[in-house]
């Protein structure tokens, strides 16, 4: 957007010290020892070190929940907004400021329950930003209530005899909503997480990574079935390479939403990797095109002259 052009932008600094883990680390995390979220934070530091965006152009946002404490632990511009609404807030940052790199962190309650509507609509609008959902299948900050992803039968303080409501299917929901980059990972798989988050950050559109991140306090062992070190399996999605080989026919076409939906329907613990990746114009691009068209019609006029002519039509 043109008016976002900074009025008093700092002149390009001569030589900047590179971003390091030290310069991007914020407050010491307040999570419980053993929480899966530590690994996600470490991966985010690693990613920023690798991407080397200008320090002041990185934005780290969150809503409410254990995982949403994330921005305090990252030393970038950022915000801790209200429960469930970090996505539209961050979408506005992305839409009005092309110069910024916007990352949003949150949990399953924030993303799939109180903020479910915003998730669907931000995906539909394809706003350029990266959303990392640290899914622990339980409300942790409020000390063990059923979450929208808690499995049937899960015993919590709000379901003492076991959860009775069908849990949401995160990958299926995202595919249906029109998100253009959808991936799933596991907090114990650091290299895989890094790869997923890097691809998400580089995606031109709304990118989501769901990371199974264990709550050792209220749902220990929740994700053991997908953790090889705990005797589980971590099955990866094999993406189509378009190399013409016979085995390629059996690989997953990330642009095929129906295929992604089929993967999302596999029984627990399902598969990991990129479910869906496609290109369609972002809202950033479409709004920018509207602005360009409108600006062309008023070419050469100052803001005052444009408003003046609106008044003149009402004389």
């Amino acid at each position: 957007m043109t008016s976002a052009a900074p009025a008093l932008a700092t002149s390009p600094a001569p030589a900047r010290p590179p971003l390091t883990r030290k310069s991007i680390a914020g407050d010491h995390p307040t999570w419980c020892p053993g929480c899966g979220d530590f690994a996600v934070l470490a991966v985010f530091y690693r990613l920023l070190e690798k991407l080397q965006y200008p320090h002041e152009n990185i934005v780290t946002m969150a809503g409410i929940g254990c995982s949403s404490r994330f921005p305090y632990f990252v030393n970038t511009h950022g915000g801790h907004y209200i429960h469930g609404r970090a996505l539209p807030f961050s979408a506005a940052v992305s839409l009005s400021r092309d110069d910024l790199h916007v990352f949003v962190f949150g949990g399953d309650g924030d993303g799939f329950s109180i903020g479910g509507n915003h998730l669907v609509h931000t995906a539909r609008k394809n706003v350029r930003l990266t959303y990392v959902i640290m899914d622990n299948f339980v409300y942790g900050l409020t000390k063990k209530q059923t979450s929208p992803t808690s499995p049937l039968g899960f015993k919590s303080k709000t379901d003492p005899t076991g959860a009775i409501d069908q849990p949401i299917n995160p990958m299926g929901t995202l595919v249906n909503s029109g998100a253009t980059f959808i991936a799933r990972s596991h907090a114990t798989q650091v290299n895989h997480m890094t790869e997923m988050m890097e691809r998400a950050a580089k995606h031109d559109g709304f990118s989501v990574v769901e990371i199974l991140s264990e709550c050792v306090e209220f749902f220990p062992g929740a994700f053991d079935a997908a953790n090889p070190r705990k005797g589980g399996k971590f099955p990866l999605i094999e993406e189509k390479r378009h190399d013409g080989t016979p085995e390629d026919a059996g690989r997953h076409d990330v642009t095929d939403a129906s295929a992604a939906y089929r993967l999302a329907s596999l029984p627990w613990p399902g598969v990991f990797g990129v479910f869906h990746e496609s290109q369609r114009p972002t809202k950033n691009f479409l709004e920018g095109r509207l602005v360009a068209g409108a600006r062309e019609k008023v070419a050469g006029k100052s803001d005052r002259e444009i408003l003046q002519s609106s008044f003149a039509r009402l004389r």
Binding site: S3, P6, L8, E56, P88, R97, H121, L307, S310
Partner: protein
Amino acid sequence: MVTPASTPAATGDGLSAASPRSIHDAVIRLAGDSQDGIQTIGGFLARLAGRSDQEVMTYMTIPSTISGGPSIFQVRMGTGDILTAGDQTDLLVAFYQHSYESHRDSLRPGGVLIYDTDHVKPDPADRRFHAIGVPVSSLTIEAAGGSAKGKGKNIFVLGLLARIFDLDVAKLAALVRERFGGRSEDIVRNAMVAFDAGYAYPADHVRDCFFRFASGPGESTHGRPQVTMDGNLALTYGLIAAGVRYGAGYPITPWSSIMETLRSDLPKYGGTFVQAEDELGAVAYALGFAYSGHLAVTGSSGPGLSLKMEALGWAVMSEMPLIVINVQRGGPSTGLPTNVEQSDLLQAIYGSHGDTPRVVLAPKNVEDCFYVALEAGRLAREFSTPVIVLTDQAIATRIEAFDEPDLAGLMVDPRPDLSERGADFKPFPLDRITRHAPPGSRIASGRYPTVTGLEHDEFGHPTGSPDLHAKMTAKRREKIKAVADTLPATAVHGDAEGEVLLVGWGSTWGSIREAVNRLRAGGLKAGQVHLRNLHPQPPDLGAIFARYRHVLVVEMNDEGLYGYGQLATLLRARWALPSIHSLTKTDGLNFKVSEVVEGVTDRLRRNGSA
């Protein structure tokens, strides 16, 4: 204007059916169905008045049904001070039987009733009016061709009114051309055929009721051309002048037209307006724009404002500048979506959980909508705070003419301040007003801020410290208190001391002013104070109140459990004066001048002083 029902002949400034005469102003009510285009011709009349340097005010009702349904448009135009759309009608145009039956009692005795003989059979026993039957439908079809199917009736009536009131035909024709000319020359030609048919009609049939507006002060006194628009549009242009380039909203009546105009106009200025998925998303987008360094707006009407309340608490806590528009309508809940009420005041001031001091303003008329938006922008920036503007359905939809603003000195630079912040930068300093550093700003210390809804220290770190919560709460309170120090002295209209002071806010300004003028003409020492700054209040109110025996607060909301309307409750709490009383009503309609006058008389009688 009030004439006993038994006396058909009118006296005074109003219309009389007796003979052609000079008048100062006229109240014309067009009653039909919403698809008849009566808003269109009402708008033509209003704009004609504006172009002729006359005063004008309109009033309209729209059914909240999706399409069709009875609808009226009332125009009061003339050369005097037009402060209200008129308690009674001088001329009624009834398109249908239901229009006639519902609205004939709004016509003052001796007034002119024009009815479409193709649809209306008037009550022969009702001799109160000068009734003129005109076959509007058949004459329109005859003039514009058989296929017209009722279209063009409105323009026929416009022609009729132009003849009756000796209106400027060249100016009206220009307005018709501007309105329809964009589509095709045929439409303009058909419209003018219908107009001419209407204009030609009265020469033979209604010769005895021609009127002419007395000439006004003349165009030279204004210096600037007049513009004619409704309050929502004036507010929207005020936002643009104030530097708003980004915003978000969700459709709701009667707020929607503001977001529609912003959606289509902001891209011309390089900005954008997002239609969000819901009200919570809308305020979140607006705050995201604000966080990014822009002066942003969100808005809604009653129910939508309730939904935004949690986020407004965040805006107070994070000290984010933001403009929030609430076009009030009848509540609670879905209430009366297309009627007026002023019952959201306490919500605007206190509606969020926790202690959330913020600024609340209200415009008094259409012109003031433009300037209030500028003031909201100034306060939001200067004090880094959310500012709520309480307008209402009446002011949003009525049309007035006013002097075109001189934009040269008013336009505010919209660009975000991304300058580098010094090493001593604190996002929430205790000893001065917060200046948000948007992303993209370098911070010399290398420590970047997290803006937050958690209680925090000066650097934005969450804290549970009792001492810091007390200090930060005080900081947020003192900042808003300081706004009051910047307010100009409160203006008093009428007597500077005396028997009664009428206090109002928002769209009731004109009715209260006309009532005060009428009371003073009757010998009562009366004054008017109209509050634009509802929170914080101007500090000089107590001294003004003390100069009157009675202070009567006039507002369109309920008297509540303790007998006081919402502003009256606040004023009693603030000034603890037993002379403060309340005049409230909840019929979803504007205060009539007579209702205010009667309210004052009643108050004085009850206090034994009249």
